[in-house]
C-alpha cells in the first residue's frame, strides 16, 4: 500500500475549517429530490407537520387579531362579560398554538433523525462497497467530514431550518393578508420598508460573502501551517528553529484575524440592520396610522393590532435571510454525501463461490457446512473443483492511473504450496501484484487465474476469504486484543485465538500485558510497538486459516532476532499453502521456491536464491548491498 498513497496529501482545509460554508450546490434539483426520498419515507408524519404548521400560524395570527375586539369592544366600553369570553377564546387559540408548535417540532425531530440515520447507514454501507481506488483518491479527512460536518449541518437544517422556513413563509403570508384586511393604506408603508430590507440583504450579503471567502482561505492557511509546524515540532526543537516558526505563524495568524473580523462584522451587522429597519417601519406605520385614524377614523384596536403585526412581519424575512446560507450549505453538504453514495461500487459479478467440502471415501467432494476436509470452488452449474492455490498471471498490464502504467505485461505462475517472493525497490510494483490477486484493483489487460478460473468470475467475498493477507501497515480496531485477533475468524474460540497468537509468537508479549488477552486497545494500538502490532496482524491472519497467504512486509518492523524466533511459527503457518512474500529483508525471502526481482513493473530476474546469486544480476547486487532498495 505504501507504494501509491503519496497522493494522500492534506486537503486544502485544515481540520478546523468549517466546510461548505459558502459553497453553492452544483445540482440543487437532483440533490433535493434525493433528500426528499429520504424525508418522504415519513410522508404521513410530514402531512401531520404541515397541518400543524398551518393551524399553528392561524392560531397565532388569530390570537394577535383578538386584540382588536378586545380593545374596541371590551376594554374601551368596559364590557367585562365580553372581555372574559374573548379572553377565554384568545387563551384557547394560544394554547392551541403552543401545543401545535410542540407537536410539529417533536415530529420534525423524529423525521430528521430518521432521515439522517438512514443517510448515515446508507453512506456507510456504500463506503464498504467502494473500490480501493476511491479511497486512494479521497483523503480520510475528506470522507470523515461527510459524517461529521455534512450530515450534522443537514440534521440541523432538517430539524429546525426547514420548519422555520415554512412557518416563516406561512406567517408572512398570513400577516400580510391580515394587514391588507386591516388597512391597505398602511400596508403601503410596510411594502416600502420590506423593499428596503431586501435591498440591504442583497448588498450586505454580497459583500459579506466575499469577505467570508477570504476568511476561509486564510483560515485554511493558518490551520495548514499549524498542522505542519506541530507535526514537525520535534525537528523545530532539535534545530532551535522556534523563533522562525513563531514569525511564520504570526503573519498567517494576523492575516486570518483581519479577514475574519471583516467577515463577521458584516454578517453580524445584518441582524441590527434588519431589526432597526423594522423599527423604522414601526415608527412610520405608527405615524401614518395615527394620521389615518384622525383623518379616516381607523379604529384604535385596528391600529394597535396592525402595529403588533408590523413586528411579526419582518421576523420571517430576517429569519430567512439568516437561514438561506445555512440551507445552501446543507444542500451542498448533502450533495457531497450523495456523491459518495453514487460513486461506482466494486465490480463483483463473479458467480463462482468458495465452499467447505468433505471428501467421501471414493474421493468425491460433497459440500459441507462447517470447517471440514477442505475448500472447493463451486461453479454456477453446481460442480465442485478443489481449491489448490494455483495462481497465474498472464501478460497482466496495470496502472493506478490510466496515464501511468505500473505493471507492463507481467506473467507468473505460483504452483500450489509454493512460496513465491517478490523483491525490488519501492515503486517497482511488488505490492501492486498482491493487490491484483485479491482484486483490490481491476487489471487493464491480460488475465489472472486462480485454479484455472478467471478471478473476475469468482465472487469477491469468496476470492478474498481464500486469501489471508498481512499488510505492511498494521491497523488495529478499538476493542480487546482477543477481539482483534478474532477479526480473522469471528467465531474463533478462545483456544483458537491463543493458538494463533502462539504461532505468531505474540503470546509472550500479550501475557505480559496487564489484562492479557482482554487488554483494551485504543487509538489503533498506539500503546503497542510497531513490532508487537505486526505480531498481532500475523496472529489475525493465522486464525483465519486461509488456503493462500500474502505477506506484504509482514515482518519489516520486527528486529532480526525476534524474526528468528517467529520463524518456526511462520514456517508452520506457511506449510502446505501457496504463499506470496514481499520483503525488504532478503533473509525473509531466501528460502522461497521462486524469487521474482521486479524493476519498474517488469520481472527482470526469476529463480531460487542460488540461481539468482549465480546469475550475478540485480538480485546479486541487492544481496551484496551494492544497490539501494528504497
Amino acid at each position: 500500500m505504501a507504494e501509491h498513497t503519496t497522493n494522500r496529501r492534506p486537503g486544502p482545509h485544515g481540520p478546523g475549517t468549517p466546510r461548505g460554508g459558502f459553497q453553492k450546490p452544483k445540482n440543487m434539483g437532483k440533490t433535493i429530490s434525493t433528500l426528499l426520498r429520504y424525508v418522504g419515507r415519513s410522508r404521513w408524519l410530514l402531512a401531520v407537520v404541515a397541518v400543524c404548521l398551518v393551524l399553528n400560524t392561524a392560531c397565532t395570527i388569530g390570537g394577535s387579531y383578538m386584540l382588536r375586539p378586545l380593545i374596541d369592544e371590551c376594554i374601551v366600553p368596559g364590557d367585562y362579560h365580553r372581555l372574559a369570553r374573548t379572553l377565554v377564546l384568545m387563551a384557547c387559540l394560544y394554547l392551541g398554538a403552543a401545543l401545535l408548535s410542540y407537536t410539529y417540532a417533536r415530529i420534525m425531530v423524529r423525521i430528521s433523525q430518521t432521515a439522517t440515520h438512514a443517510i448515515r447507514r446508507d453512506l456507510f454501507a456504500r463506503m464498504q462497497r467502494l473500490p480501493l481506488r476511491y479511497f486512494d483518491t479521497h483523503t480520510h479527512g475528506e470522507l470523515m467530514s461527510r459524517y461529521t460536518n455534512d450530515i450534522d449541518t443537514l440534521t440541523e437544517i432538517l430539524q429546525n431550518g426547514l420548519v422555520s422556513l415554512l412557518s416563516g413563509a406561512l406567517t408572512f403570508a398570513g400577516v400580510v393578508g391580515m394587514m391588507l384586511y386591516l388597512s391597505p393604506l398602511l400596508f403601503l408603508v410596510t411594502v416600502f420598508s420590506l423593499g428596503l430590507m431586501l435591498a440591504v440583504i442583497m448588498t450586505v450579503g454580497k459583500r459579506s460573502r466575499r469577505y467570508f471567502m477570504a476568511q476561509q482561505r486564510d483560515l485554511g492557511e493558518v490551520n495548514g501551517y499549524i498542522e505542519e509546524m506541530i507535526e514537525g515540532q520535534k525537528v523545530i526543537k532539535v534545530f532551535n528553529h522556534e523563533s522562525q516558526a513563531k514569525a511564520g505563524f504570526d503573519a498567517r495568524n494576523d492575516r486570518y484575524r483581519r479577514s475574519a473580523a471583516s467577515a463577521h462584522a458584516f454578517a453580524g451587522a445584518m441582524m441590527p440592520a434588519m431589526g432597526n429597519i423594522s423599527h423604522i417601519n414601526y415608527a412610520l406605520t405608527c405615524c401614518v396610522g395615527a394620521l389615518l385614524s384622525i383623518a379616516m377614523g381607523l379604529d384604535l384596536g385596528a391600529l394597535l393590532v396592525y402595529l403588533q403585526y408590523t413586528r411579526q412581519v419582518s421576523q420571517p424575512i430576517s429569519q430567512v435571510s439568516q437561514q438561506v446560507n445555512n440551507i445552501l450549505a446543507a444542500i451542498a453538504g448533502a450533495e457531497r454525501v450523495f456523491e459518495v453514495m453514487e460513486a461506482a461500487p466494486e465490480v463483483d459479478d463473479g458467480e463462482v463461490t468458495l465452499v467447505h467440502v468433505r471428501r467421501g471415501p471414493d474421493g468425491a467432494l460433497t459440500e459441507a457446512a462447517g470447517r471440514s476436509d477442505g475448500w472447493a470452488w463451486k461453479k454456477p452449474d453446481g460442480t465442485l473443483a478443489p481449491l489448490r492455490g494455483d495462481v497465474r498471471f498472464e501478460d497482466v498490464v496495470f496502472g493506478y492511473n490510466s496515464d501511468k502504467t505500473i505493471l507492463h505485461g507481467i506473467s507468473l505462475y505460483a504452483k500450489p504450496g509454493q512460496k513465491i517472493a517478490f523483491v525490488g525497490s519501492t515503486g517497482a510494483g511488488k505490492t501492486t501484484i498482491t493487490n491484483l490477486i485479491n482484486r483490490f484493483y481491476e487489471i487493464g489487460g491480460g488475465l489472472i487465474t486462480y485454479d484455472g478460473i478467471d478471478v473476475r468470475d469468482i465472487g469477491k467475498e469468496s476470492l478474498r476469504r481464500s486469501l489471508g493477507i498481512v499488510l505492511q501497515d498494521t491497523h488495529l480496531f478499538t476493542g480487546t486484543i482477543a477481539d482483534n485477533i478474532r477479526y480473522g475468524k469471528l467465531d474463533a474460540t478462545d483456544e483458537e485465538v491463543r493458538a494463533a497468537a502462539k504461532l505468531a509468537n505474540a503470546d509472550t508479549f500479550i501475557s505480559h500485558l496487564p489484562d492479557g488477552y482482554d487488554t483494551w486497545i485504543t487509538d489503533d494500538g498506539g500503546s503497542l510497538s510497531q513490532g508487537e502490532r505486526q505480531l498481532l496482524a500475523i496472529a489475525r491472519a493465522a486464525v483465519a486459516d486461509p488456503p493462500v497467504l500474502i505477506l506484504d512486509e509482514a515482518t519489516s518492523s520486527i528486529d532480526t532476532r525476534t524474526e528468528k524466533l517467529i520463524e518456526r511459527g511462520m514456517d508452520r503457518l506457511m506449510a502446505e499453502r501457496t504463499v506470496f512474500v514481499i520483503a525488504h529483508r532478503l533473509s525473509t525471502v531466501r528460502n522461497a521456491k521462486a524469487i521474482m526481482v521486479l524493476e519498474q513493473g517488469e520481472i527482470i530476474e526469476r529463480g531460487d536464491h542460488d540461481e539468482l546469486i549465480a546469475q550475478g544480476g540485480k538480485y546479486y547486487q541487492l544481496y551484496t548491498g551494492q544497490a539501494e532498495l528504497s
Binding site: R9, I71, Y80, Y94, A97, A98, R106, Q113, H117, R121, H140, Y147, G224, I226, I230, E231, K237, V238, F239, E242, K246, F249, N253, Y256, R257, A263, H264, A269, P272, A273, G275, I277, H279, Y282, C287, A290, I294, L300, T426, N438, E461, R465, H475, F477, T478, Y487, G488, L490, D524, G531, D559, T560, T562, H584, L586, S587, T624, A627, E628, S630
Partner: protein, 578 residues
C-alpha cells in the same frame, strides 16, 4: 475559566467595553420606541394634533437610526474583539508549545494539539463575539423592560412576579434535564465517528478479511444508539419554545384581565397597555435567549478547559540552571550512572545505570534490538528528555548548565522520524544555518551524498519539496536531513537510524565523508546494520535499557553473544534494511 482567559483580550479591551456599551444602549433604545408610540396613540390621536404626531414620529425614526448605528457598531466591535482575542489565544498556545519539551508534546499528542489550536480557539472567539452581542443585550433588555413596565403601571407589573420565576423554573428544568443528554449525545457521536475513522484507515484489512457486513453491523448498533439519544435530547429541547409561548401568552391574557379595569378607571391608557405586551414579550424572550446562550457556553467551557490545559502545561526543560554565556568546549560526551524513564510513575526504568565515556571526535556505533532504548539513550544528549538520575555531560559540563539553544547548536541530531517542511530544498537546508553560503550548502550535500541527486532535479536546490517532502524518495529524504544537520557544524552529530533507506554503498561513502570532513566532530550512529558501525572506534550493544557490551567489532565478536547473534543473522540473510 474567564479569569484565565481574560489576559488574552489584551489590546482589545477598549473594543470590548465599547462594544458592550453599544449593545446595551441599542437594547435600551429598542425598548423606548413603544413608549413614544404610546404617546402618539394616547395623546396625538385623541387631540387630533397632526404636528405632534409627526414630531413624535420623526423622533421614533431618529431613535431607530441611532439604534441601528449602535447595533452595527456593536457588530463591528464585537467581531474585531472576538477575532483579536482568538488570534491572541492561538498565538499564546502556539508560542507556549514552542517552549514544550518532547515529553510535554507527547502528553498531548499532535492531533489533539492541532485541534486545540484550531477548533477550540475558533469556538472560543465565536463565543466572545456572540456573548458581546447577545449575552449583554439580554440582561439589559430584561432590566430596562422591567423598569419601564413598573413605571407604566406598578400594579400590572405584578404579573411578572409570577411569570418570570415560572419561566425560569421551567427552562431550568428543561436545561437540567437536557445537559446530561447532550453529553451522552456527544459520546454516541464519537462512537459513530470512531467506527468510521477506524474503518477508513483499515479499509484494506476490512476488504481482505471480507468483514464489510461485520463492519456494517458494528456501525448499525452505534448509529441506532446515536439516533435514539439524539431523538430523546432534541425531543426535550423543542419543549423550550412552546413553554415560553405559553407563559408569554398567559401573561398577556392576565395583563388584559387585570388591565381592563385600570383603563376604565383612567389609570392606564389603552396604547400603554399594548406597550406592556411588547415588554412582556421582550422580557420573556431575553430569558429564553439567556437559556440558549447558556447551552452554547457549556460547549465553550469544554473548549476553554482544553485550551487552558495547554497554557497551564509547564515546559519541563528550561534554562533555569544554565549560565547564558557557556558554550560547549569540545564534543566529548559522558554518561555517569544515568537512569531514565519516560513516565515518572512507571515502575520500570527505560534506561538503567548507563556509564559511557565518548572522547571528542570519536565515532561510536550503537546496536540493539527494537525497544532496547537506543534512541532514548542518544536523546538525552541534546536534552530532549531529562535523566532522572545521574548526569549527562557534553564538553565536560552537565547538559543543564548550557542554555537549550547553545546545547542544541552544539549537538546536531537526525531523528528517526524526520520531517522536511514545505518549501524548496534550499529553504529546508537553511534550517541548519540561516547564513550558510551556496558553497557551504553544496559541501554539506556533498558529504551527505545528496548533491548528486539534487543536481539531477529540474530546479536543483530550488526544487519545491511539497508538504512533508512528498516529492523525494525515502533515501533521498534521509540524505537531505543529514545535510541539514551537517550545516549546523555541530560538535556532536547523532544519526538515529538515519540511513536505513540508503543503500550500503552510499551509506559507506557518507561514513567515509564524515571521517575526512568532520575529524573533530563526535559522531554517534545508531544502526540496524552491523556493517554501518563495524569500523567505529567504539560499538555499544544495548539490551533492554542497559548497556550489554561495549568494544570494537573485533572485541565484540569475541565477547558478546548478542552481537555475534545479530552479526550472524545479518550475514546469512545479508539484511539490507532496518
Amino acid at each position: 475559566m474567564i479569569k484565565k482567559l481574560w489576559p488574552y483580550t489584551r489590546g482589545y479591551r477598549k473594543w470590548i467595553a465599547l462594544g458592550v456599551l453599544c449593545s446595551a444602549s441599542e437594547a435600551v433604545f429598542e425598548l423606548l420606541l413603544p413608549l413614544v408610540m404610546a404617546d402618539i396613540v394616547d395623546t396625538g390621536i385623541p387631540a387630533g394634533d397632526t404636528g405632534y404626531i409627526l414630531r413624535r414620529g420623526a423622533l421614533m425614526v431618529l431613535m431607530a437610526l441611532v439604534s441601528m448605528a449602535l447595533g452595527v457598531s456593536a457588530a463591528f466591535l464585537s467581531s474585531h474583539a472576538g477575532q483579536g482575542f482568538g488570534a491572541n489565544l492561538r498565538k499564546a498556545q502556539y508560542d507556549h508549545i514552542q517552549a514544550f519539551s518532547f515529553r510535554n508534546i507527547e502528553k498531548f499528542s499532535t492531533a489533539s494539539l492541532v485541534t486545540r489550536l484550531t477548533n477550540d480557539c475558533n469556538m472560543l472567539q465565536m463565543s466572545l463575539m456572540m456573548g458581546m452581542r447577545l449575552l449583554v443585550r439580554a440582561p439589559v433588555m430584561l432590566i430596562s423592560a422591567l423598569v419601564l413596565a413598573v413605571s407604566i403601571s406598578l400594579r400590572l407589573s405584578r404579573v411578572f412576579l409570577v411569570a418570570m420565576p415560572l419561566l425560569l423554573v421551567l427552562i431550568g428544568l428543561i436545561v437540567k434535564h437536557v445537559s446530561p443528554m447532550f453529553s451522552s449525545l456527544q459520546e454516541r457521536t464519537d462512537d459513530v465517528n470512531l467506527v468510521v475513522q477506524e474503518n477508513l484507515s483499515a479499509i484494506r484489512v476490512v476488504k481482505s478479511f471480507v468483514r464489510e457486513d461485520h463492519e456494517q453491523e458494528k456501525f448499525r448498533k452505534r448509529n441506532d444508539a446515536l439516533r435514539a439519544t439524539a431523538e430523546r435530547a432534541f425531543g426535550f429541547v423543542v419543549m423550550n419554545m412552546p413553554v415560553m409561548m405559553l407563559v408569554t401568552y398567559g401573561t398577556i391574557i392576565a395583563v388584559m384581565w387585570y388591565g381592563a379595569p385600570l383603563v376604565q378607571s383612567g389609570e392606564l391608557q389603552v396604547a400603554l397597555l399594548s406597550t406592556f405586551f411588547t415588554y412582556i414579550t421582550q422580557v420573556l424572550m431575553s430569558l429564553m435567549m439567556v437559556s440558549m446562550i447558556m447551552m452554547m457556553l457549556t460547549r465553550a467551557v469544554a473548549c476553554a478547559k482544553r485550551v487552558t490545559e495547554v497554557l497551564d502545561e509547564t515546559p519541563d526543560i528550561t534554562d533555569a540552571a544554565a549560565s547564558s554565556g557557556v558554550t560547549a568546549a569540545d564534543g566529548s560526551v559522558d554518561f555517569d550512572h544515568v537512569s531514565f524513564k519516560y513516565s515518572p510513575d512507571a515502575e520500570k526504568w527505560n534506561l538503567r545505570d548507563i556509564n559511557l565515556h565518548i572522547p571528542s571526535g570519536a565515532t561510536v556505533g550503537i546496536i540493539g534490538a527494537t525497544g532496547s532504548a537506543k534512541s532514548t539513550l542518544v536523546q538525552l544528549i541534546p536534552r530532549l528528555y531529562e535523566a532522572q538520575e545521574g548526569t549527562v555531560r557534553v564538553g565536560g559540563r552537565p547538559v543543564g548548565e548550557y542554555t537549550v539553544e547553545h546545547l542544541r547548536d552544539a549537538v546536531s541530531m537526525v531523528l528517526q522520524k524526520n520531517t522536511l517542511f514545505s518549501g524548496t530544498i534550499r529553504e529546508n537546508l537553511l534550517w541548519g544555518d540561516e547564513n550558510a553560503s551556496d558553497a557551504d550548502i553544496e559541501a554539506a550535500c556533498e558529504a551527505a551524498c545528496a548533491a548528486e541527486f539534487i543536481r539531477r532535479m529540474p530546479a536543483g536546490y530550488d526544487t519545491d519539496l511539497g508538504q512533508g517532502g512528498v516529492n523525494v524518495s525515502g533515501g533521498q529524504k534521509q540524505r537531505l536531513c543529514i545535510a541539514r544537520a551537517l550545516l549546523k557544524k555541530p560538535k556532536v552529530l547523532i544519526l538515529d537510524d538515519s540511513t536505513s533507506a540508503v543503500d550500503t554503498a552510499t551509506d559507506a561513502s557518507i561514513r567515509a565523508a564524515f571521517r575526512t570532513r568532520l575529524p573533530d566532530t563526535t559522531k554517534i550512529i545508531i544502526a540496524q546494520r552491523i556493517i554501518s558501525v563495524m569500523d567505529a572506534d567504539l560499538i555499544v550493544v544495548m539490551d533492554d535499557g542497559a548497556i550489554a557490551d561495549m568494544g570494537t567489532h573485533a572485541e565484540l565478536m569475541q565477547t558478546s553473544d548478542i552481537y555475534r547473534d545479530v552479526y550472524q543473522s545479518q550475514q546469512e540473510g545479508a539484511s539490507l534494511d532496518g
